[in-house]
């Protein structure tokens, strides 16, 4: 018993306004961690079976857990019926994951006219220096920025990210798609309610899962996450 009291705890539980935060030691072995977690959850003060739903966040520190280990950890905690795991956060990821994230967030520059019948597919964001002609298609897992005219089809967030946007200097698409939300150009004579600018527009998906076309200037407010702030230095005179 004395040994246990002297060494720092492997599982620290903190209460916050949003629920509980479990801070897990990243130096001990994984099994030790699970054992202590089990003990902690068995202690009387954390016997939460009858209480209201408790939201839990897990901090793993510099410990890397693979998918199986994360599943085990979830299962162990979920033994308590009224615990909901909101988030599992670790300070480390594998090289492979890092590489994937880099590829997903990379901007691919392309100076080209995408012509009728051509399909361009990009992982990450696309910056097109040229036009997309009628019948041409550009697809990206991320955002699409077109410095020319978009007259064909643009599909952003093709692996499901509905935060993606499509911008074009001249926005006259035949069809737009973000994640699985579609919008086509109005037919001739079809009534269009919203105000259109056509020049320097962006398309995004709003809270009601509708695609909206708006002035490019609105992007700053709508998608603050687009900013690569770490690389921006603002020089004040």
């Amino acid at each position: 018993m004395t040994e246990k009291e002297t060494r720092p705890p492997r599982v620290t539980i903190k209460g916050t306004r949003d629920g509980l935060t479990f801070i897990l030691d990243d130096q001990c072995s994984y099994n030790e961690l699970l054992t202590e977690l089990h003990e902690k959850l068995s202690e009387e003060q954390y016997r939460l079976d009858h209480g209201p739903l408790v939201h839990v966040k897990l901090f793993l520190g510099k410990r890397y857990l693979d998918d199986q280990q994360i599943a085990d950890l979830k299962e162990q905690i979920s033994e308590r019926k009224n615990i909901v795991i909101d988030d599992i956060r670790s300070d480390v990821i594998t090289v492979e994951e890092a590489e994937n994230r880099r590829k997903d967030s990379r901007v691919t520059r392309l100076a080209k006219i995408v012509r009728s019948g051509q399909v361009i597919e990009i992982r990450g964001d696309l910056l097109l220096l040229g036009d997309v002609n009628p019948g041409g298609t550009v697809r990206a897992t991320g955002n699409i920025f077109i410095l020319g005219a978009l007259r064909g089809i643009a599909q952003a967030g093709i692996s499901g990210d509905d935060r993606s946007i499509i911008c074009a200097a001249t926005m006259q698409p035949s069809q737009l798609r973000i994640a699985d939300i579609l919008r086509r150009a109005p037919e001739k004579g079809e009534k269009v309610e919203e105000e259109r600018f056509e020049d320097l527009e962006c398309a995004y998906v709003n809270g009601q899962f509708e695609m909206v076309l708006d002035q490019l200037q609105r992007v700053a407010k709508l998608r603050p996450e687009l900013n690569d702030e770490w690389n921006v230095r603002t020089v004040d005179m």
Binding site: R115, S116, G117, D131, N133
Partner: protein, 265 residues
């Protein structure tokens, strides 16, 4: 060593054959030696437009199948000694030859002629691939219609993947009054969509159809506007810098001339 130029459009009926014949004739008028090759096997008509139908003995497929020598299949034009035609076969289809056959024939023609003009069939299948195979340059023909421009765009995309100079554009069948009313795409719109160099624009002229039916290329007629346009295209192909024709009616031209001489209209 001559230059091989393929004339193509994607869409049918926009005037590839007419363009081929007239550019060929106009080039011959400038004193160049020209060979025209009809690659529309099964649907040949270059010979008809040139009025040479009755003289066909051997054709492109005969040359490929070595039934005759290339020189035997060439038909000399009635009007110019320096203009010859290699006709397409009427009985076979486009699978009768392949791109390497075309490369060989075009290579051989380039040795004897300044220009080899290849008339491409409509579509993007085997016939197109054959026609493009031996070419060093390409001319895309489009009319100012949305459907023709769409197909021309597709063709330009395919040509850009080939190992040849960037394609150049001929806008055919322009109707002045419709263009001015905005009822037809104007030349600038076609050029800005396709984003390739404009080689020339040809007005829609009734005499072009009559001339084709008579087997007498319009480029022979020095008074027709279409003829002047084709002659200008030929000069541009020869490397001359010729300003684009004014599409306004004659009054406008007169105005321009007056302006040039500093006379107030």
């Amino acid at each position: 060593m001559g230059e091989a130029i393929v004339i193509t459009s994607g869409k049918g009926g926009v005037g590839k054959t007419t363009t081929t014949v007239n550019i060929g004739t106009a080039l011959a008028l400038t004193g160049k030696s020209v060979a025209l090759v009809d690659t529309d096997i099964g649907l040949r008509n270059l010979d008809v437009v040139m009025g040479l139908e009755n003289r066909i003995i051997y054709d492109l497929v005969d040359v490929v199948e070595q039934q005759c020598k290339l020189s035997q299949a060439l038909i000399r034009d009635k009007r110019f000694d320096c203009l010859v035609l290699l006709p397409a076969a009427q009985t076979k289809d486009k699978a009768a030859i392949d791109p390497s056959d075309m490369e060989e024939i075009v290579e051989e023609l380039k040795r004897d002629y300044d220009y080899v003009l290849i008339d491409c069939p409509a579509g993007i299948e085997q016939g197109f691939k054959n026609a493009v195979a031996g070419a060093d340059q390409s001319i895309v023909v489009s009319t100012p219609e949305v459907s023709a421009v769409r197909d021309a765009d597709r063709i330009v995309g395919l040509l850009e993947q080939e190992d040849m100079d960037p394609p150049r554009l001929v806008v055919n069948r322009i109707r002045n009054h419709m263009m001015q009313n905005g009822d037809m795409l104007d030349v600038d719109e076609v050029v800005s969509t396709l984003a390739i160099e404009l080689l020339g624009a040809v007005v829609d002229d009734d005499s072009v159809i009559k001339a084709a039916n008579d087997g007498q290329p319009i480029a022979m007629d020095p008074d027709s506007k279409a003829s002047i346009a084709y002659r200008n295209i030929a000069r541009r192909i020869n490397g001359e810098s010729v300003p684009l024709m004014n599409f306004d009616d004659d009054k406008g031209v007169l105005k321009k001339v007056k302006k040039f001489f500093g006379i107030r209209a």
